[in-house]
C-alpha cells in the first residue's frame, strides 16, 4: 500500500464523514446503494463512518459523474482509458467518467459488452483515495491502479486493510481473518466433506 505525499488524512474531529451526489446526475436509489456498499467495506475495517446526506455543498465527500473536461484539470477520455479519479483528504472530490458503460448488478463477467465496467469495484478503489491511500503494486489489492473491464473486485485485500488501518486504526469490532486470537480448525487433506479450510 502507499499514501499520498505527506500522508494526508481526515482529522480526528472529522471521522464521521458525510457524502452526497451531484444533484444534476439524478442518480437512482439503486445506484446510490452501490456507493453505500462501497463505503461500508471501508467502515467495516476502520473507525470511520459514512452517512449519505442530501446537501451536496455540506457533504465531506462529493460524488459525481462527468464527461470530458469538467473543470478540475483532469478531463475524462471517453470509453475506457481513465474510469474515475478522486482527491486526497480533505478535498473529498470523487469524479467518475460518465461515458463509461457502468453496470451495477448481475454477473458482469458474462457481459457481451467488452467495455462494461463494474461500478462498485471502481467506487471501492476511489474511496481508498478519498481516505488517503495511494496506489499499490499488490495485484489482488483494491488499490492496484488497473481493473480489466467486465471484472468485479470489491473485497478489501490484506494490503488495503493494513494501509487504511495505519492511517485510522482498526474498527473495534473488526477481526482480522488470520488473527491469532481466532481459533483455527485444522482439517486433514483428505477431509473434503464440507469444502475446505475454515477459521
Amino acid at each position: 500500500f502507499s499514501f499520498f505525499p505527506g500522508m494526508p488524512v481526515w482529522p480526528v474531529g472529522r471521522r464521521d464523514l458525510t457524502y452526497a451526489f451531484v444533484p444534476e446526475n439524478e442518480l437512482s436509489d439503486e445506484v446510490k446503494a452501490v456507493f453505500g456498499r462501497a463505503f461500508a467495506r471501508w467502515s467495516q475495517v476502520t473507525p470511520l463512518t459514512f452517512t449519505q446526506i442530501e446537501s451536496f455543498l455540506a457533504a465531506d465527500l462529493k460524488i459525481g459523474f462527468f464527461v470530458g473536461d469538467h473543470g478540475d484539470g483532469e478531463p475524462f477520455d471517453g470509453i475506457l482509458g481513465t474510469l474515475a479519479h478522486a482527491f486526497s483528504p480533505t478535498s473529498g472530490r470523487f469524479h467518475l467518467d460518465g461515458d463509461e458503460n457502468w453496470v451495477i448488478g448481475g454477473d458482469i463477467s458474462t457481459s457481451s459488452v467488452s467495455s462494461a465496467v463494474d461500478l462498485e469495484s471502481v467506487a471501492v478503489h476511489e474511496i481508498g483515495h478519498l481516505l488517503g491511500l495511494g496506489h499499490s503494486s499488490v495485484e489482488d489489492s483494491i488499490m492496484f491502479p488497473t481493473i480489466p473491464s467486465r471484472t468485479r473486485k470489491v473485497e478489501l485485500a490484506t494490503d488495503d486493510v493494513q494501509g487504511i488501518q495505519q492511517l485510522y486504526g482498526s474498527n473495534p469490532s473488526y477481526t482480522t481473518p488470520s488473527s491469532p486470537s481466532t481459533p483455527t480448525v485444522h482439517q486433514s487433506d483428505s477431509d473434503t466433506s464440507d469444502g475446505g479450510d475454515r477459521g
Partner: protein
C-alpha cells in the same frame, strides 16, 4: 450510462461496442518499438506516462522518439506493475498499458511507495538484522 445489470444493456450498444476503440487502444501499434527509433504517435505514450507520474513535466512538447525518458519510464512502470523489467514495449507491458485504470497518478511529485519506490532486495538484506533462535 448506468445499467442495472448486463441484460439491460441495449442491443444497439452491444453492436456499437464492437467498433468502439478504448482510449488507449492505439498503443497496441507500438509493439516492438525499440530504443533509438522514431514511431509516429509515441508522444501520446509519453503523455500517458507524464500523466501518471512516470515522466516529469517537460518544457517542450513530447517527441515521437524512443528516448532515455521513455525507456526509464517503462522500466519504472514495469516494476510497479510486476512485469519483467525490460525497458521495451513488449506484449505484456502493452496489455497492461491499455487496461482501464484509475486516473490518479502512480507517482506523485516523483515519489511512490509502489514497487519502484521500495528498496531493492539487496539493499534490504544489507540493513536487515539476522537473528538465530536458541
Amino acid at each position: 450510462r448506468i445499467f442495472p445489470n448486463i441484460s439491460s444493456i441495449p442491443p444497439w450498444l452491444i453492436q456499437k461496442n464492437d467498433t468502439v476503440l478504448g482510449a488507449w487502444d492505439a498503443f497496441k501499434g507500438f509493439g516492438g518499438c525499440r530504443f533509438g527509433e522514431r514511431t509516429q504517435g509515441l508522444s501520446k505514450l509519453k503523455s500517458y506516462f507524464n500523466h501518471f507520474g512516470y515522466i516529469p513535466n517537460s518544457p517542450y512538447n513530447f517527441t515521437d522518439d524512443f528516448d532515455d525518458d521513455l525507456e526509464s519510464a517503462l522500466r519504472t512502470y514495469q516494476k510497479n506493475f510486476n512485469l519483467n523489467v525490460t525497458g521495451t514495449l513488449d506484449e505484456p507491458t502493452i496489455q497492461s498499458l491499455i487496461r482501464p485504470r484509475c486516473g490518479n497518478a502512480d507517482i506523485v511529485n516523483g515519489t511512490t511507495t509502489m514497487n519502484s519506490g521500495k528498496p531493492t532486495t539487496t539493499a534490504l538484506n544489507s540493513t536487515r538484522f539476522h537473528t538465530v533462535g536458541h
